[in-house]
Symmetry: C2
Subunit: 491 residues, 2 copies
Amino acid sequence: MSKEITSRAEDYSQWYNDLVIKGQLADYSAVRGCMVIKPYGFALWENMRDALDKMFKDTGHVNAYFPLFIPKSFLSKEAAHVEGFAKECAVVTHYRLKNDPNGGGIIVDPDAKLEEELIVRPTSETIIWNTYKDWIQSYRDLPLLINQWANVVRWEMRTRLFLRTAEFLWQEGHTAHATKEEAIEETKKMLDVYADFVENWMALPVIKGIKTESERFAGAEDTYCIEALMQDGKALQAGTSHFLGQNFAKAFDVKFSNKENQLDYVWATSWGVSTRLVGALVMAHSDDQGLILPPRIAPWQVVIVPIYKGEEQKAMIDVKAKELIASLKDKGIRVKYDDNDNARPGWKFAEYEMKGVPVRITLGARDLENNLAEIARRDTKEKKSISMDGLPEQISDLLEEIQQNMFNRAKHYRDEHITPADTWEQFEKLLDEKTGFISAHWDGTAETEEAIKDKTKATIRCIPLANKQETGKCILSGKDSVQRVLFARAY
Amino acid sequence: MSKEITSRAEDYSQWYNDLVIKGQLADYSAVRGCMVIKPYGFALWENMRDALDKMFKDTGHVNAYFPLFIPKSFLSKEAAHVEGFAKECAVVTHYRLKNDPNGGGIIVDPDAKLEEELIVRPTSETIIWNTYKDWIQSYRDLPLLINQWANVVRWEMRTRLFLRTAEFLWQEGHTAHATKEEAIEETKKMLDVYADFVENWMALPVIKGIKTESERFAGAEDTYCIEALMQDGKALQAGTSHFLGQNFAKAFDVKFSNKENQLDYVWATSWGVSTRLVGALVMAHSDDQGLILPPRIAPWQVVIVPIYKGEEQKAMIDVKAKELIASLKDKGIRVKYDDNDNARPGWKFAEYEMKGVPVRITLGARDLENNLAEIARRDTKEKKSISMDGLPEQISDLLEEIQQNMFNRAKHYRDEHITPADTWEQFEKLLDEKTGFISAHWDGTAETEEAIKDKTKATIRCIPLANKQETGKCILSGKDSVQRVLFARAY
């Protein structure tokens, strides 16, 4: 069949691309660096989005929508922010096209030049804080707990489907608070929400930590992150939550009168996850036969494939299938019945294996005579024949079991790939041979961090929260260190 | 209080703006023509979006996501389409900013000019059909029934919150079919879905019809529409569904092999509704005290306001309120309990009236002693005291009644405002005095249609589906006509 995919051992990067394309998650587009999210990939993203959205709402947040465009001058208002974000971005300079008077098709109308260029948002702190200025006068207007689901654009030079695209979909939370403590609490709360989501819905264990100054979000006082590990031993930043201090309030002059009737600048946070998480999901769980999707977010949790000869057998199976589908749906299980006549069962098996559907139920005419169905789980590839009686309950339990197994498997791999290094030689050897996170002492300077990155391409992924304090010597400089930090090569 | 709004009689247009701003639906932004959709407005849009999304899925459609940017050359590929859409749009010409070497802040980097300009999508037919080319080979790949929720940009010169903004949110369905008949059936089916949604969720009666050639979507063979009537007697196009023939398939060379193994061009439809519907909702139902939202899409269906003196009364009311909220939520009713201490009940009453919450329940300490609560409905402003026993059931029924009453009221107004005109004098008089739809004979030519528009600003809103055929004389030219069409001034 044409669906063959490159194995991980042969070419991990090509394996990933094959999965995304042949698993029907996304496609390249005619626009450099932008992708098309295909229906199957979008259904997966919808399930992720809906679960997260509910978690945001359950923690008191509301959604809103801010403009796609940001006036160029806004980006300059926060000094660190402009350095980080005003580089590679899409710039709108004109607002009209016209027919070329010389017959050259349509051209940009030179008379329709904008007075001030507009930037397609790479992130929305500036436009949002410019708006909050009008919304916040008093402590009674606080906190503002607002989230936005949106598309953003960063003109990346090297792009990869889901992992790094010029346009991507994400959510960005932007909250405003009366006190520093409350803002920090919010920053941490949202990190916990992200960790909860990624671990319990995506079945992907994460390490919660804090970024070093060099890796911080441009404009933040502190950036908290969750870091996950992919099957090739590279780390992937799965979400970030930023404590922005009063930086954006100062940049956009957002003051409020506090309970003592004194004017003060408002405290801020922002936090986001994106379609990049789909890439993480693919890389963390899949195998050489295709995707393996966690039941809680899989577009279809169960696929039913009938095997029959002739109309009579088909009719009999249809009756059983309909009953089964109804009971599965009653349990809230997302099920697809594939009785498409144009494809053989074997082709379908490979197709749903490729697409990572957690459970396949095969209804064969002969088995059904004995009241049996065959169930196959995608994560372990185990198959067994079981009685049709009580099947929905068993499937429901099995889906839970698969979810848990996927998490355990990923956690086992991750835990096996956190290795301490005490010498520079160990450090380099681990990076090249075992890969994964390396726990090592660092002298706390940006210079050393940079030197390690230059030599090895490894970065400090995070300083884990509640990190053990222990004295030691920096892996590179040999200077005194008070704690180990986690290094890795990363996506 | 500061919340006073201009009355409809005084200034309809200002009344509308007041409602949108003071009702907390949206706000102006720093970017010309772009608005901020505020949390309350966005919650309303989310309810509308979710209801529509379910209807799309129930009719077999799936969601996907296509790039924000469209290469300039794509717009030229369909001749009529480029005329309609390649005019006022946001053009991305560069992909980088840099620090001005002369110290003038950040400037567009002249070295980062795109080889081909990118257009921020005004609609996505071109980029989508360019993609479908890769997805469709055989009749087995058809139909494709894909929808996208997205932001689009049209550089409008005169903008109004929700009704006409440079950036707006919408959904755009793009389907591909093997036969002309199937595509036309899809076009009509989606028109029915829109009519069902607008009438049964937004409580707004619509007229289904077909556009004249001049009013057709640029690139369509036929444009079907639903037209609604606002309280000032102007019409508003609430949704369109286009039969695109093979125009885009030909422009992007999308062919498929049919069952007879012959190559043919694919048949297409597209259909969309946008955040403009929020504007329609506001204009159709609200009054001089504020918004009136239909229960089925209102962010809060019920607000509970406690009235008390002192902690003891408050504690007693809290207990009753919690019970009530739990039973309302059990019934799937969206309820807000406003026990905010900072505002007086009278202020709250006005606030929720402004926001159009369908039902207000007042829990007063004295009433509660008699097991009574006061309920006030927003649509008729009726108030009555009723027993707390069975209150949830009564509220549930009342919400249904309000939904129905709002529809009936809008339908009564609409039906009263469809008036036949048989002479030009009548026509002009009706337009200026009675307003609404005018049913009149038209000779079927674009010239006459244009002349009527020039003279009166009235356009042909649609030729109603299943229109009665009757001979007559064109209202302007006096030439023979076979049917009446609906004219109106419109948003």
